[in-house]
Symmetry: C2
Subunit: 120 residues, 2 copies
């Protein structure tokens, strides 16, 4: 067995920049996407994988684990066969909603759309 010992290494932040602290936790391209997809509902692993098709199940699983470790999401496993697992935001996870909202807002702007269109 390979002990999946995964200790997060946060960004070195001597000047105590709050944005750096935030990025240490939810930085990386997938986490905000995943958190936003979970939103206010309970959602199954497979469903998440469907609505974020460009992430592999391996990476999705490891991102979810990390978010769970941070206490931002809760994982509920039902003892059924085939297995069912649901993810939802914890209270701490919900505190990220304003960020996710601003990200969604900006992502919907003409500015964002133009950048993607012109460089694709």
């Amino acid at each position: 067995m390979v002990t999946t010992n995964f200790e997060p290494k946060f960004i070195n932040n001597p000047l105590n920049c709050p944005v750096t602290r935030a990025m240490s936790i939810i930085g990386g391209k997938w986490k905000p996407i995943i958190l936003n997809c979970i939103g206010e509902k309970k959602i199954r692993f497979g469903k998440l994988n469907q609505i974020i098709p460009s992430i592999s199940n391996k990476v999705l699983a490891s991102e979810l684990k990390e978010l769970e470790l941070y206490g931002l999401i809760k994982r509920t496993e039902y003892t059924e066969m085939p297995p069912r697992v649901e993810y939802e935001l914890t209270k701490a996870g919900k505190s990220l909603i304003p960020i996710l909202h601003e990200l969604a807002n900006w992502g919907d702007s003409t500015i964002a759309k133009k950048i993607i269109k012109e460089l694709n």
Copy 2:
């Protein structure tokens, strides 16, 4: 000369998720930090490197180039010796301020501080 041909590869986004679009552009841990450090002022390369000590100048330079390519920052070079270059947010870059503000806000929260403290 090695042609630094760097075409961004955006996240595949068939369902047109706005957060995914946003993350395609400002995803990655450094960009929000850099944008936030630039803020409303003009700032020199060296100064940026000082206040984000954990980024190497190589990575800082490449991130700045990418942000410039997206039209989020403007680079002004003064023909002096030693050289002086200043970076500032463009109008498009300033449209990100609400996101940066929320990130800073959350990064300052007890929740964020606790996560870092407990897992470090």
